[in-house]
């Protein structure tokens, strides 16, 4: 039989090795409905059979803020750049939670879904993307809480000077999402073989929070460690986030630009490593 068929005649060619930079975005686009389904699934399954339902989205940041206000504000007297303490902490917590959720949830995507991945094909990138998207829903809900707290303080007379910098908000959210995604992808790709990293992530992210300006402003950081803290790409983002809503914080184009570059690099490496791992991870998990 004549096996020599023209290469172009095939819809799909499966080979052992493919280009490192074949990122399969076309495939991801074709499965975009699946992404929405996953987001819906996460959202619905989160509050099914709970009494408070979506209210739970509020409770966690609210209580964290109360505790932080008590511990870091009341006991440790850490400066909040002159802002009301709850407002300062809630801003940091809301933004940080989004990033942290993105990174921790993406970092276990291979392990958590090995069952589905082992049985059916769809572009694997859909799942981490859906995680980032469903966290975005949660983030949006928590932003409502943050905004209502701003409104409360505004009506009770606190001066809140947010201005043009608010335009940056979408960019900041995108950066947090992509940075979390990129780092999460790198970690999940590596944990398929070496599980050690999985243990590191949960407390690593927690420790990283203290190296970010969540509970203290950059201006209050000791001079010795300031550069180290600025090296953390999340610092720039959180400072800019606070600056754009509350008008306080050490915001500079340089630090946001630096975060953007780190984000792009992390995302790029993340997707490449993820795509490379995805092909054979079923055999190692």
């Amino acid at each position: 039989m004549d096996n020599k068929k023209p290469e172009v005649g095939w819809d799909l060619i499966i080979e052992g090795t493919s280009s490192l930079f074949d990122l399969k975005f076309r495939d991801v686009w074709r499965y975009r409905d699946l992404l929405l389904m996953f987001v819906k699934r996460d959202f619905v399954s989160f509050y099914k059979q709970t009494i408070l339902g979506p209210l739970w989205f509020f409770i966690q940041p609210l209580f964290t803020t109360i505790i932080y206000t008590f511990v870091f504000g009341g006991l440790a007297h850490i400066s909040t750049d002159g802002l009301p303490q709850p407002l300062f902490y809630l801003a940091g917590i809301t933004a940080w939670n989004y990033f942290a959720d993105c990174i921790t949830k993406t970092s276990t995507v291979f392990r958590d879904n090995s069952n589905i991945f082992g049985k059916v094909y769809f572009p694997r990138l859909i799942l981490p993307l859906s995680i980032v998207a469903s966290n975005l829903v949660r983030f949006a809900v928590q932003m409502l809480l943050f905004l209502s707290m701003i409104a409360y303080y505004y009506w009770s007379g606190t001066v809140i000077s947010s201005g043009w910098a608010l335009l940056m908000f979408p960019v900041l959210v995108l950066m947090m999402a992509l940075l979390g995604l990129g780092l999460g992808l790198i970690i999940t790709a590596m944990t398929t073989k070496y599980r050690d990293l999985a243990f590191l992530v949960t407390f690593g992210v927690q420790l990283l929070m203290y190296a970010t300006t969540v509970i203290y402003p950059l201006s209050a950081a000791p001079e010795k460690y300031k550069h180290l803290i600025e090296l953390n790409p999340m610092t720039g983002i959180i400072e800019a986030f606070r600056y754009s809503f509350l008008g306080k914080g050490e915001f500079s184009t340089w630090s946001v630009g630096y975060s953007a570059i780190v984000t792009i690099i992390a995302l790029f490496i993340g997707i490449i490593v993820f795509n490379k791992t995805e092909k054979t991870f079923v055999d190692t998990v």
Partner: protein, 436 residues
Amino acid sequence: MSQTVINVENLSKLYRLGEIGTGTISRDLERWYKMRIRGQADPFLKIGETNERNKKGDSEIVYSLRDINFEVLQGEALGIIGKNGAGKSTLLKIISRITSPTTGKISINGRVASLLEVGTGFHPELTGRENIYLNGAILGMRKKEITSKLEEIIDFSGVERYVDTPVKRYSSGMYVRLAFAVAAHLESEILIVDEVLAVGDSDFQKKCLGKMQDVSTKEGRTILFVSHSMNLVERLCNKCLLLDNGIIVKNTNDVRGLINEYLFGNDKNSVHEWINQNQRTCGNEYFIPLRMFLCDQNGKKMGNTVSNNEDIYFNIDLQVLNIDPALNIGYSIYNEDSQIVYWSLDTDSEEERWPKIQIGDCSLRSKLPKRLFNEGTYRIGLLAGLHNRAYLFDPNKNSPFIHITIQGNLSDSPLWTEKRYGVVAPVIEWFVPPKI
């Protein structure tokens, strides 16, 4: 001639055996260094070793598939058979892009839908309807495609009443019905199925099988089907591929022939008689089986392919050592799906009619029921034990076997002479009852 839709060329897949854990980093580095930097071959791969599950090899890396070449034409239903670990599932996984081949190439024309498991991604908290959408999307359907088929899917599944209930409250049968219904309505040119039919009640199995037959014969879609049920493979497939240790043994249109070859090996003539070569004692103090064979009523040995209308006797020669009143000797007969068709023992009838065996050499003979069996190949295994106490020969463990193939002459009816549905094909009298 129809178009080639799947073309597999020189496909191989390697697996690393043993633990992946501590020590892998250093080995990975060594491997990477030798292969990439010094251009040597993979140091952990020993060429020339086959993947035999029950033999211990030297290498830690084995071929799960090795140099596989075949093509599938449009509209074909290809059955893939082979022992556990022969590489069937790996092959399907590679074709459905779940894992990637080590070397080689597969070219595919058309959309592939694979059903390696029913209900992948079902979420217990979501309702049936929501899960239809979710599962459909996972299998590659667009949302509007699912919406347009929703009625049909719900109808096929037969769970209309529960469609707005979370699936965690479903019975497992309902769950599977719903899941298969989604999969059955995929619009793909190629359907890959891995033994998912072994679920649901018989009604639903029939429905699934019918749907799959429709898919391949009426709609001209291509099916790849892996199963251990030879019966299903024979009914569904018009082509068959036998894998053994990762290598294609045969790829042929003669499905029935290949199934026989797989089940009973090549040496068909030697299996209709079993002889105890070195007078093994077989570990019991009651009797030693010497020979098992099939014969006619005069004791003349028969070949292993017989027509269904012949008188066939099962004969066993034995050397009796001790007699125990609880001793039962008989056989267990299995069909191609390894289902037991029936057991027969020398103590089945009333006590006065039990055969009296004597110490020393002795034979037992029993007539196989005429026109009970369907066409096909059967395995007959020695079955013996002490009633309610112990097995002496358990066909699942240590029994000798002989084979018999029933072919033709299923009945005297002009209509029903060929293999028919059902485990058995008895000829049973029908009559019109007299009017009172």
